[in-house]
Symmetry: C2
Subunit: 213 residues, 2 copies
Amino acid sequence: MTIVITAWDRSPDGGMGLARDTRVRWALEEVGRPYEVRLVSLQSKQQPEHLRLHPFGLIPTYEEGELALFESGAIVLYIAEHHAGLFSDDAHARARAISWMFAAVNTVEPPILELVTAKFSEGDKPWAAERLPLVKDRIRDRMIQLSARLGDADWLDDVFSAGDLMMVSVLLRLRPSGLLDEFPTLAAYVARGEARPAYKRAFAAQLAINQRP
Amino acid sequence: MTIVITAWDRSPDGGMGLARDTRVRWALEEVGRPYEVRLVSLQSKQQPEHLRLHPFGLIPTYEEGELALFESGAIVLYIAEHHAGLFSDDAHARARAISWMFAAVNTVEPPILELVTAKFSEGDKPWAAERLPLVKDRIRDRMIQLSARLGDADWLDDVFSAGDLMMVSVLLRLRPSGLLDEFPTLAAYVARGEARPAYKRAFAAQLAINQRP
């Protein structure tokens, strides 16, 4: 059955790959599954037909026959469960990869989302400059611990998994701020993710949409 | 095999059930599995033996024989996959429940965590009062959409699932702020969760720890 995902018609990042459809594209490329993309505009995201698919009017969504999913983490997990390439055959390793998927979105990403909010929603507020270092320090707390855990390993749990796919995707959001480069271990980890052929194809596909006239 | 989870020796909320071990206790109670608890103090959370279990020095963790997991979302998912009671037998319904689990922790919880940070980390800052309404409005945006989606249904996808367990747990964090009661549909949804016998047992167990002398 054909897989159809949604992505922004024009991503707010202009094609840097930070919109969450990139995570799903990457997962589909890792497992070698073709997909189609339906574009959603910022104007149409609150239309009933899109809200039926995504209750919060966001992207990505995932449709395959009768199945309709939302949330990049859930979609990546579904792809990883149904195709070889993103989860180990070992049940414990698979459960640990899911721990890392949730750590990416619920422990590492929230302080990063605060930085995004501080910049784009509160960048013009009188407290913006004084508050920014506090927000960055909360991110650094997580990065110090993640960096210590990764150590000199290539991936978080031996071999590349959906856990690394999600963590690298979350960390990529830090590059514009310069925070990623403060942690050479994590910058190299992210670079290993970006060097994967599947990531390159996913990145190129979202860039092409954002660069069309 | 014995299941051992970790919880705070003294929860910062004093036993209101907002610490994340409550989510795991609730899941274990729903599926009828006994468990033991190892308490972690705020002083010992950065010790190597705890960081080995939880790379970010947080709770809960989950141990069962050789298996060691962290992140409440991942642990609840593992429990739901291995015991009846939290996932439908239907594969599509199960995948949708996982969408709601990720929506709870990655779309609904991040703005709620901002409110927690605004109160406890920045409550004494000069911008605290002026910034608070902005933080609350970002939460309301999500609540409006979640409330519209739930409508007059009891649960997010027909029958109670691990998705509801996670969403109710996240929404509970809003009660102290008064924001939950602004949305009667969601307040009633949370109350349905709290009324479940399994939730009551989980809540009582964490309260007992926090109320001991």
